[in-house]
Symmetry: C2
Subunit: 205 residues, 2 copies
């Protein structure tokens, strides 16, 4: 195990990054005991500088973080916990992560590119649960998996034609259409987009 460089207070900063979406859920601090407890239990532990005590994330809120891996930086003075976030929510304000504003104080509304597919699938899942009036996703799903697969096939063909035409705008538009239909079809098959990504990663050398 790597020797960590704790600061003069015996602490090291920890970034909690989501395994599925890549979003930074929070930045907190750990002492040696918190790191040890995290390794022992598989759940994120931190050290609260205000309460001056060891702290298991989510112990009262249920917003537990299962830690899949701990990463260490080049100087051994910062950590990343790669986490699966219970309740898909990590911030005490009720937000999904603590970094929900930019420096101008504006709320961040849109995901970043690497978050696009997992966040799209979350939207699809929410639509299918809540069935809001006028939702295209709900309408399509109500017509059944065959209809969704047919639409996916149509969008794949349109993507193919766009690629053949070498028209950038058309390619982006049709590929996005196709990925939406694919995401819906995967969701109806109870498959998480991350599982497709895991399959891709397995093949990487």
């Amino acid at each position: 195990m790597l020797k960590l460089n704790f600061n003069e207070e015996g602490l090291i900063p920890v970034i909690a990054q989501d395994y599925r979406t890549g979003e930074v859920r929070m930045l907190a601090w750990a002492n040696e005991e918190a790191v040890r407890k995290t390794l022992e239990t598989g759940y994120a532990h931190y050290y609260s500088r205000s309460r001056k005590e060891l702290w298991k994330k989510g112990e009262s809120s249920g917003e537990l973080q299962r830690v899949l891996e701990i990463r260490v930086d080049c100087d051994e003075d910062a950590l990343i916990y790669i986490v699966e976030q219970e309740k898909n929510r990590a911030c005490h304000t009720g937000e999904r992560n603590c970094f929900f504003r930019n420096i101008q104080g504006e709320r961040i509304e849109k995901p970043l590119p690497f978050e696009a597919l997992p966040r799209l699938q979350e939207i699809i899942q929410r639509r299918l649960e809540e069935k809001p009036e006028g939702s295209y996703t709900v309408k399509l799903a109500s017509e059944g998996l065959d209809k969704v697969i047919q639409k996916f096939g149509e969008e794949a063909v349109e993507t193919l034609i766009a690629l053949k035409n070498r028209e950038k705008g058309e390619i982006l538009y049709e590929t996005a259409d196709m990925l939406y239909m694919l995401s819906l079809a995967l969701t109806l098959n109870d498959i998480d987009v991350k599982e497709v990504m895991e399959e891709l990663i397995k093949r990487m050398k």
Copy 2:
């Protein structure tokens, strides 16, 4: 602009996160001047605790970070710089990011799910540049865009059949095949995967 809570040394921790891949490139510190310079110039500035000076990332190495957004956490005591990383490399060790080892000291070889598509495209680009002997990507590309598009179409049909069969393993396998062919076709069209994701995000409400 939000008021930031600098610590007793006048510093705030900054996570540099890549806009395209989502990887955490590094964790560093900023003082008020570094944040101001970052906002003014659009390039990441930090404060070096060892050299006790303001520091423009990449000034000597060329590994500049263009900052697209600064995010602030709920307690206003941590920042994220969302960056585009010059040279696709950020660590003084020559690694792409500073978190290249796990706590056991082992090198991290595989990307995480949210990194899969951008990292796959990097591999494809590298193969097309370096043309290593025996590479399937190089062989396919040498047969031309029509051949790649044809393969994409075949894999889309196989994905469609797998979805229809509701066979999870088959769906994951064929979808991964299709996404590989799509990534190759996009690369041959000089389209970055992130541009497709931006198109998807534009549509999100």
